[in-house]
Subunit: 314 residues, 2 copies
C-alpha cells in the first residue's frame, strides 16, 4: 500500500483545521499550522480542543504566520474558507514536494479549482467534512458532534486509488473517520443538498435548522432547493437518489437546533462563502442547461447581504 | 352626472384612512371614522395631519369603536389592512344603503373579494393608493408625498361608469386626485409590479428602496420579480408594457430612500399582508398556468417570517 508520509501542513487553524490538525498532532504526525489571528495564543498556550470524544491539548504546535517559513510536506490540508483562496496558490508553493497530496476540505462546488490550477490535478484530493465544531476563542476549538470526511480524487476517472486508501489508514491512526469515494462529484453534490438550503435559509431567515423545518413554508422551500441541487447534479451527469433528500431532511429534524457556519459568519461580520456554495452550483446548472431559479434567488439575496449587511444585522 | 352623496364611513383610521378621511372631513363631507387603537385620542384631541400640502386638524371627528354604532352612509372606504378583513363583512352590514359605494383601497390581488361576497360586486369599487404617509402617533398622521388614487369598478365590464366620475368630482373637492380607470385589473397589476419586489425584498433583506436598487444583485432580483408579475398578469389577459417596469424602476431610483409599509409593519411586530400581496397573485398565476418561482419563494420566506419573527427581528 502507498504511504502518504508523516508531515502535514494545515492551512487555516479554525474550527475545522484546529480539530483535524489537532487530532493528527495528537497521533504524533508532524503537523505545521498556518495561522492568522491566533498565532501568539497558539505559540504560547498551545491548541485546546474540547470534544465529547475526550478533550485534548497540543502543547507546542508548530505554528507559522506565513507559508514561506514552513517546510515542504507530504500532505497539505486546505481548511480555511474559500473566501481566502486568493492566497492559496502562493501558500501552496513552498509546501509542495513531488508527491505531496493537497486535501481540499472546503464547502461548495469547484472549490478545488484554485489548488488544481496552482499544483496540477494529480496532486489534489477533495473532501467534504461532516463536522459540528466551533472556534470558541483564540487557539480553542469546541467539537460538538460528528467528524467524518468523505473524499475522492479530483481526477474522478482515477477512482479508488491507493492514495485514498493510504489517507484513510493515516487518518484512522488519529481517530478520524475518512471515507474514500470513487466519485468526488457525487460526494460534493450530496453535501450541497444540505448546504444550499440550510446555510442559505439560515442566513436569509435568521433561523436555526429546527425553526426552519418546523414551519411548513420554510420546510417546503428547503425541500425545493434540495430538488434543484439534485437537478443541477443530474444535468451534470451525477444521479442523486430521492432517498438522499428524505434522509437529509429526516437527519436534520433529529439534529440539535443548529446555527449553520454561514449564519455564524454572517452574524460575526465575516464574509460568507456565497460564490462557492451558491454561485458555482448555479453556474454549473446553467452551463448544463438547467436554470435553478430558487437557488439563483438565494444567491442574489445572499450576495446582497454579504455586501450590505455583514456584521450589522444583529 | 350621478352623485355619491355626502356621508362617508372610513374603516381604519391609520396612515391611509386618516389622511383621506381627514381631507374629506376638511372639505365638509360628513365623515365617520371606525377606530381601534386611537379612539380616546381622536375623540378628545381630534385628528392631526402634517403634510407638505399644508397641516390641518379635524377638531371633532365622528369616531366609533364599532360599526354597529355608525350610520348607514353613501360611501364606505375600506382603509385597514387586508389582515383585518375577517371583520369586514360584519362591519359593512350596518353601513349599507341601497346605493352605497364600497371603495376598497387595500393592496394586493383579489382584495375586493370579501366586500363583494358581503354586499355584491355592483357596490364595489377598487382602488390603489400612491401615497407615502405614516401614522406617527395616536390620531397623528404624517403625509410625506404623493396621494393619487387610481380606481375602477370591480365589475370590470362596467367600464368608466358615471359613479366613477362622481367619485372623482367628490374627491376633487377635497383636493384628492382620484383617477378613474376602465380596467381595475390593470390598475392592480401595475401597482403589484412595485409592491411585490419592494415590499417583499425590503422585509427579506431588511433594506430601503435605495439600498436595494444600488446593489446589482438585489436590483436584478427586483427586476425579475417585476417581470414575473407581468407574466402573471399576461396569463390573466392583462398586458403590462415593458415600459411600465422601466418607469417604476426609474421612479423608485429617484424617490427618497423609503422603508416600505410592510417593513414598517414587520419591524413593529404587526402582521404583514402576505396573502393579499404575494399569495393571491401567485395563485392567480398558477390557476392560469404560470408558475412564478421567485414570487413563490418570496411568499414562502415572508410567510415564515410573518409567523416566526414578526416583532422580534430588530
Amino acid at each position: 500500500m502507498a504511504e502518504i508520509g508523516n508531515s502535514v501542513a494545515v492551512l487555516g487553524t479554525g474550527a475545522l483545521g484546529g480539530f483535524y490538525g489537532g487530532l493528527l498532532a495528537q497521533a504524533k504526525y508532524d503537523v505545521h499550522f498556518l495561522v492568522r489571528s491566533d498565532y501568539e495564543q497558539l505559540r504560547e498556550q498551545g491548541l485546546r480542543v474540547d470534544s465529547p470524544l475526550g478533550d485534548f491539548h497540543v502543547q507546542r504546535p508548530h505554528v507559522y504566520r506565513q507559508a514561506a517559513d514552513m517546510p515542504a510536506v507530504d500532505l497539505v490540508m486546505v481548511c480555511w474558507k474559500t473566501t481566502s483562496n486568493a492566497a492559496l496558490a502562493a501558500a501552496l508553493e513552498p509546501l509542495m514536494k513531488a508527491n505531496t497530496t493537497v486535501l481540499v476540505l472546503q464547502n461548495g462546488w469547484d472549490v478545488e479549482r484554485t489548488a488544481v490550477d496552482a499544483v496540477g490535478g494529480q496532486h489534489v484530493v477533495g473532501g467534504c467534512c461532516f463536522l459540528c465544531s466551533n472556534r470558541i476563542g483564540p487557539g480553542h476549538i469546541h467539537h460538538l458532534d460528528y467528524g467524518a470526511i468523505a473524499c475522492g480524487e479530483y481526477q474522478t476517472g482515477d477512482g479508488l486509488t491507493p492514495r485514498l486508501q493510504a489517507l484513510q489508514a493515516m487518518f484512522q491512526r488519529a481517530n478520524i473517520d475518512l471515507r474514500p469515494s470513487a466519485d468526488l462529484r457525487l460526494v460534493r453534490w450530496k453535501k450541497l443538498v444540505w448546504n444550499i438550503p440550510f446555510n442559505g435559509l439560515s442566513v436569509l431567515l435568521s433561523s436555526d435548522t429546527r425553526q426552519l423545518l418546523e414551519d411548513s413554508s420554510a420546510a417546503a422551500l428547503a425541500h425545493e432547493l434540495m430538488e434543484e441541487v439534485r437537478e443541477i447534479a443530474a444535468a451534470n451527469s451525477t444521479e442523486i437518489d430521492e432517498g438522499h433528500i428524505e434522509k437529509m431532511l429526516a437527519d436534520t429534524r433529529k439534529m440539535v437546533p443548529y446555527d449553520s457556519s454561514m449564519l455564524v459568519d454572517f452574524r460575526a461580520g465575516r464574509p460568507m462563502e456565497v460564490e462557492s456554495i451558491f454561485g458555482n452550483p448555479l453556474r454549473a446548472g446553467l452551463a448544463a442547461g438547467y436554470h435553478a431559479r430558487k437557488i439563483e434567488m438565494l444567491y442574489q439575496a445572499l450576495s446582497y447581504l454579504d455586501r450590505e449587511h455583514s456584521g450589522s444585522s444583529m
